[in-house]
């Protein structure tokens, strides 16, 4: 057993950093960054300690044991799972705990989060050095890290939802960090809103699951308890639940059709992009899918939906990246594409494969983003690849590490990306050929657009007027660290760590060969096209009518824009109109106007003519008599 306090330290140290910065160090640039970096490093170290404990022991058995709920729930798990739950909300039938559930999957993810996160934090110290809002930035960043850790460790769905939302919140804050820039602020709102919308389904799913978990020990949100309960739930209902939960994942992991926020999220500072794309936010969706895979496992329909969503995302995002000129956006689409692959893997019942790719992807995608950030930093926030030239020479460290990242992403042997991607392709080839084709197509395209990016921006001679120079050490060291991880990621047995009991699948030689060839093909094509540094993108002519479609991102933004501006706003306007007209004018003012009119009319009875008064008096008496005599 590991000391709970170590886990809790890993859990809360970024939060403490965030709070400290917010309360005391909002004006101190050095202290704030140091505290934030210290926080995440502490968390990383604690994670490492926990990880050593976890992986030091071997699983005894894979059966789960249950104990009834107590005030403090301490489960006796096999040694490689640690759990502690503290009561948070608890009365009557409702139990919501606050705790952690550490299993190999979680610890692996946590390592990625804190490890890659640490690199990004350190890098940010350099990248944001000139920004006046740096303390605020580090506070947000720490909050983000905390939220992500919370998702990873959460032991029940409500807690998970809380951190899920907090991730959305902190992504909103970070993307919109330069809030005075309208595009950045808009991007933040967009990211948050899309996530919120997705979470609508997610929360419905959670509550639905909870309301049907009344088997055995009363309703529960507890993930490990749910694992034992799920098999008893009606599959039809479970499918609905699963799809609702998947809604949240679609939003967070930016799957089609809710992928639109991701590219816009590039408006945030580059370290944020790195963090969101590599280690945290988008990965959270995939991680969640793996974490609660026991729900999806028996549901073929849900799984195929997931697989197809993943596949489509992979292919579509890859095509979009081809027509993009912004270095960060290209990377963003590549992230999308890779996430699609991961989700597809999970849809094909391969959580291990998905998580494996997630891990390696975290390494090289963080590397790529940080590299891009380094470039952007050097070029004074120039992001258009066509304005970059020969950076490999002027920025060697950045350039070479970027190349490593590129190759890893393309899946070139023996870099980490090769191994993990191959697992997924093999899985697809095994289960669903059409998905395999789509994934392969995505791979070619990946190789192509990454090649395009690299050859345009880094290859060749530097521009004469370029003042680009290498970034400071605090930014390059994280690059080197991540490059190292990308290099060796395939050899350190990540799958084994993830699912200790599982057999490690053997390399499918045929698939590996095909994918390698395809990747090289893609790179080759891009080399041919872009080696000579054309002034304009030759693709524009080559693709013909398809190009505008890609440029407009398959018109998704327009559709959503139509929805937001026309449909939603139209509904809102109609509602406001209904209120103004029916409730206020006809209803409220109608009543008052009726009263007014009645008053005005009755008023006229008071003619001022005394004879009329007398007449009324007489008639009143007569009427009174008639009323009285009516009873007889």
């Amino acid at each position: 057993m590991v000391e709970p306090c170590i886990v809790w330290t890993a859990y809360f140290s970024p939060l403490v950093a965030c709070v400290l910065i917010t309360l005391f160090f909002l004006r101190s640039r050095n202290m704030s960054s140091l505290i934030a970096i210290g926080g995440i490093l502490l968390s990383f170290i604690c994670t490492l300690i926990v990880a050593t404990q976890i992986f030091a022991t071997r699983p005894i058995s894979t059966t789960f044991q249950q104990t009834p709920n107590g005030l403090e729930i301490a489960h006796t798990w096999p040694a490689h799972v640690f759990q502690q739950s503290l009561p948070w909300i608890g009365f009557d039938s409702l139990v919501i705990n606050f705790g952690y559930l550490v299993n190999p999957l979680a610890i692996m993810m946590l390592l990625v989060v804190t490890g890659v996160g640490s690199a990004i934090f350190i890098y940010s110290r350099g990248y944001m050095a000139d920004d006046p809002g740096m303390p605020r930035f580090f506070a947000y960043l720490s909050l983000f890290a905390f939220s992500m850790i919370g998702i990873v460790l959460a032991d029940n769905l409500i807690q998970l939802f809380i951190f899920w939302e907090l991730v959305g919140l902190s992504s909103y804050l970070l993307i919109g960090f330069w809030y005075q820039k309208p595009s950045a602020a808009d991007a933040g709102v967009k990211a948050f809103m899309v996530n919120r919308f997705a979470d609508f389904g997610f929360l419905c799913g959670i509550i639905l699951l909870w309301s049907h978990s009344n088997i055995g020990f009363g309703r529960t949100f507890d993930i490990d308890q749910l694992a034992t309960i799920v098999p008893h739930i009606d599959p039809g209902l479970l499918t609905i639940t699963a799809l609702l939960l998947f809604c949240g994942i679609v939003g967070k992991s930016a799957q089609v059709p809710l992928h639109v926020w991701l590219a816009d999220a590039m408006e945030g500072p580059t370290p944020v992009s790195a963090l969101i794309h590599a280690a945290t936010m988008v990965a959270a969706g995939v991680y969640l899918l793996a974490r609660i895979f026991f729900i999806f496992e028996p549901l073929t329909i849900a799984l195929s939906v997931i697989a197809w969503v993943g596949g489509i995302t992979a292919l579509m995002a890859a095509t979009l990246a081809v027509a993009e000129n912004d270095i960060k956006r290209i990377l963003a689409y590549s992230t999308l594409s890779q996430l699609g692959l991961m989700v597809m893997a999970l849809g094909l019942s391969g959580p291990m494969q998905g998580m494996y790719h997630l891990t390696t992807h975290a390494f090289f995608k963080a590397l790529l983003f940080l590299g891009a950030g380094s470039v952007i930093y050097a070029l004074h926030h120039e992001q258009n690849i066509w304005k970059m030239r020969g950076l490999l020479k002027s920025m060697p460290v950045t350039g070479w590490t970027f190349l490593i990242g590129t190759l890893a992403l393309c899946g070139i042997f023996p870099l980490s990306g090769f191994w993990s991607k191959d697992e997924i392709l093999a899985l697809a080839a095994q289960h669903n050929f059409s998905l395999y084709v789509m994934a392969s197509l995505a791979s070619i395209l990946t190789a192509f657009y990454m090649g395009r990016l690299f050859f345009v921006a880094f290859w060749g001679k530097p521009a004469k007027n370029s003042h680009a120079h290498e970034s400071p050490a605090i930014m390059t060291w994280p690059l080197i660290f991540l490059a190292l991880l990308s290099l060796i990621g395939g050899f350190i047995g990540i799958p084994h760590f993830l699912y200790p009991g599982n057999e490690h699948p053997h390399l499918n030689m045929r698939v590996a060969l095909v994918s390698s060839v395809l990747a090289l093909l893609g790179l080759a094509v891009s080399f041919v096209l872009y080696n000579k540094k054309p002034d304009a993108d030759p693709l524009e002519k080559a693709l013909g009518p398809i190009y505008p479609v890609l440029k407009n991102k398959y018109y998704f933004d327009d559709i959503y824009g139509w929805y937001v501006n026309k449909l939603q706003q139209g509904m809102a306007t109609t509602t406001a109109w209904v209120e103004a007209l029916f409730i206020d004018r006809f209803g409220v003012h109608g009543v008052t106007r009726t009263a007014n009119a009645a008053g005005r009319i009755f008023r006229l009875l008071q003619t001022g003519l005394v004879q009329f008064y007398a007449l009324t008096f007489v008639l009143g008496t007569l009427l009174l008599f008639l009323m009285l005599v009516r009873n007889l």
Partner: protein, 174 residues
Amino acid sequence: MPSLFFYFFAAVMILGALTVVLARNPLYNVLGLVVAIFSLSSLFILLEAFFVGIILLLVYAGAVLIFFLFVVMCLNLNADTFTTAKQTRFRILGAIAGLMFFAELLLALKSFLLAHSMEPSTVRGTIETIGRILFTEYLLPFELTSLLLLIAIFGIVSLAQGAFNTGKEDEATL
């Protein structure tokens, strides 16, 4: 014979009353009321209520109506004052109101008269009998009427004071 008297006085009374309502000249109105009051007092006597019959004649015809006449003459009201005035819609409305009242009254009376077929009693309202009761049982109301008359005096004094000096207004008293 008494029934003949009754019908006669009733007819005269109604005629007098109608004169009050219909005649244009205020003088005729007042005289119409005098006639009506006279017939009423005759009816009282017919009912053997001698005392109130006489009082009615004395107080009403003798004092009140003379007062009316005095005002009419004093203010120099004559038919001309009213001839220019249009007849109002209230003429018909008033008639309708009166008729409706009468109709409802008949409705109310019908069952009463059917239920009570009463014979006149032997009560004779002579001065003696009435006076005896008046100063014993009806002492309090009798005293109170004095206050009523006091109010009338105050009222006339404070309202009509100086009202008959034509022309100049006694503003200081207002």
